[in-house]
Point group: C2
Chain length 415, copies 2
């Protein structure tokens, strides 16, 4: 089997021109067919998925779980596509419009990006989720999934393409790499002639590899070394509730808190209180010397690496600071620019924190766990950008679009 990426890219670009011309009702009709086809062909998908699982060796239980599709999960993917139908279509919206000095009517119109590349790992639902969001926004998609899910992903793409054909549309709007070698992955990341953006979805290791190797513009997603700073004037009950929620409600995700920073004036009162609650969830505490002095045996001394580590686990590192400015300095030096919160009742300090912390989302008196496309009300999420270009924070449908200037004149020439 050989994959001709240049050919795939060219076909994707051709298909993208057709997609860009579809109206919302046409796109929604296709999404509906995709959903129905997935449901109707769920047995086929499950059979292939079972084979993928049987072929994979030495998987951890959690990896195996992420890879597995059953009827319920396939129906959930179909439901996800139907939810995308209900979202407003950003394509064609005009962000702004004006008349320039020469009398040209200039409009900045939302258009599809073109060809979106997605590189991901075990979870086959990404195949369907990402396709739904890219299709709704008129983008062609090139997928490169993990090797363990290869046949499952190929089957899903076959079904999604069949839905396009049923609507007399070019199926090359949805394509997947049928080989998962590293050489091909590198070529995929450098397909600059045809791919307009590449979005990695998965582990920190994957994202780092993509940033290192890609020549296509990348949207970096995911890494979250998030902090909760508890200020002197914090309501300590609120601070405890938020800290516990941000740490344990779902520790494996990027918007979970990994660090607790506490003002020294309340550390002695607050730390035992929050430690008691965290102990109920068996959260391991690692502190600086001051935190350990207060928490005694409940806490081990943190290493310098701890401050830069995203645990994604039931572990929390704690630092005691002398001032808000020390907290801000520490956070800006160690965070991954994802989500940071202050718990305070001081107006000035809340403003300083919001203004001076460099992150995609900055919170006063709320859990960092809200940094999420659904919680923000976008109705969808293709990822959470931790970079500053194009998109920052949760990315919904609008972040899968770009703009073009549409200019109407009546013979204007430049003087």
């Amino acid at each position: 089997m050989t994959v001709d990426l240049q050919d795939m890219g060219q076909k994707a670009q051709q298909a993208s021109y057709q997609l860009a011309q579809l109206d919302t009702l046409q796109k929604n009709a296709v999404l509906s067919t995709m959903a129905t086809e997935l449901e109707q062909r769920s047995q086929e998908i499950i059979a292939v998925n079972q084979a993928d699982l049987a072929n994979a060796h030495g998987l951890t239980a959690s990896f195996s779980d992420r890879l597995t599709l059953d009827k319920e999960r396939i129906y959930a993917m179909a439901t996800g596509l139907r939810e995308v139908i209900n979202l407003p279509d950003p394509i064609g919206n005009v962000d702004k419009a004006w008349v320039n000095n020469a009398g040209l009517r200039i409009a900045k119109r939302r258009v599809p990006i073109g060809v979106v590349g997605i590189i991901y790992e075990a979870r086959p639902n990404v195949t369907v989720d990402a396709t739904g969001l890219c299709f709704k926004t008129g983008n062609a998609i090139l997928l490169r999934g993990g090797k363990e899910a290869l046949q499952t992903n190929i089957k899903l793409v076959e079904i999604l393409r069949a839905a396009l054909v049923k609507h007399n549309l070019n199926p090359d709007a949805v394509q997947i790499l049928t080989e998962t070698s590293h050489e091909l992955a590198n070529e995929f990341m450098q397909l600059t002639d045809y791919m307009d953006v590449l979005i990695p979805r998965g582990s920190a290791r994957l994202i780092k590899a993509v940033v290192q190797n890609a020549k296509v513009p990348v949207i970096e997603t995911g890494a979250g070394n998030c902090h909760i700073y508890v200020d002197e004037t914090a309501d300590l009950q609120m601070a405890t509730d938020i800290m516990v929620n941000a740490k344990v409600q779902r520790p494996s995700v990027c918007n979970a808190a990994e660090k607790l920073i506490v003002h020294k004036s309340i550390a002695r009162e607050f730390l035992p209180q929050v430690a008691q609650q965290l102990a109920k969830y068996n959260v391991e505490l690692r502190g600086d010397r001051q935190a350990c002095d207060i928490l005694k045996t409940k806490c081990t001394l943190a290493s310098p690496e701890d401050w830069d580590t995203e645990y994604n686990d039931y572990i929390l590192a704690i630092k005691v600071v002398d001032s808000l400015q020390d907290a801000i300095k520490h956070i800006n030096a160690h965070n991954t620019k994802h989500s940071e919160a202050i718990i305070t009742n001081d107006y000035t300090n809340s403003q300083l924190f919001l203004d001076q912390i460099d992150a995609a989302a900055v919170y006063v008196n709320a859990s960092t766990r809200f940094t999420d496309g659904f919680e923000f009300g976008f109705g969808a999420e293709i990822g959470i950008s931790t970079q500053k270009l194009h998109a920052r924070g949760p990315m919904g449908l609008e972040e899968l679009t770009t703009t073009k200037y549409v200019i109407r004149g009546n013979g204007q020439v430049r003087k």
Copy 2:
């Protein structure tokens, strides 16, 4: 002399945190001082620039001209800085704000990008222009200019930094590489820990090298293989005026037209008419067979490479097409996604062209020469983006900003 780029990057990032907190009046005061200092120290600048010119060997006249600074040009740079004072400051603007289901008050606020890298060639005015725009938007700037202008650029940066110091601000907001080796340029393009975006300004060769070598997110600017398509119903006088303007008003720039596409039904009438006008400016015409059949000795046969070439010169390639769809297909296959125009009086065709052409700016009945930050009314321009992420088309101050989500709660935790 050794340059420690990591150290420069770290210092730039530190300075960027200070810049982000300045209000508009503070920033404007600094810009004013920068302008005054440049004027007052113009003799110093000219002396160093003369030395740069004396050290450079084998320069073309046009290169030498771009490199040269005299009192008039220095005063023009100062005037440019004062114009930036008058532009509205986008920092702090809220793009949108809403309350989510949990009652969180979410605002998407404009903030500086952080540290902007600029890599450029001969023209020392880029040093001052780019610094003014980055400073107004609260960004620290790292500059890497061409080797021929090195001492001039170092002197300009010394003066700009002195203005910062006069206002008790960290001068590391403006830094320049004092060595111009290729190794250092590569390291510059890969300074991912500290540089948030890299903008190349210069030749197609420079931009290509940056896209190939950078690991920092790049905004690709500049290349323009722009087309004028003259439709069957075009007002031929208007078409001639626009074609001549787009070709000869300033042939060396990216928004100048390089190609003329003509509908076959009017080619015989239109081509001799436009050729006659273009002949006044000694424009060389290269056509496909049909165009050459009509224009006879005024035209030579174009090679396949012509359709993909940005001449930046008094050369125009001409193609005759059977239909609007053929024109659109040809343009999408060969353009650089910069600026494209249709000249028509047909409503449907105008809509199809605007919808189906893939470019940063699409025009009906106007010259492509209007794709420009000043002509658009932005009051400034850091470049013209031909990519689709973050910024597309002329980039003004807003394109030098990003957003952060500022979220105010009263104890919300995620359910």
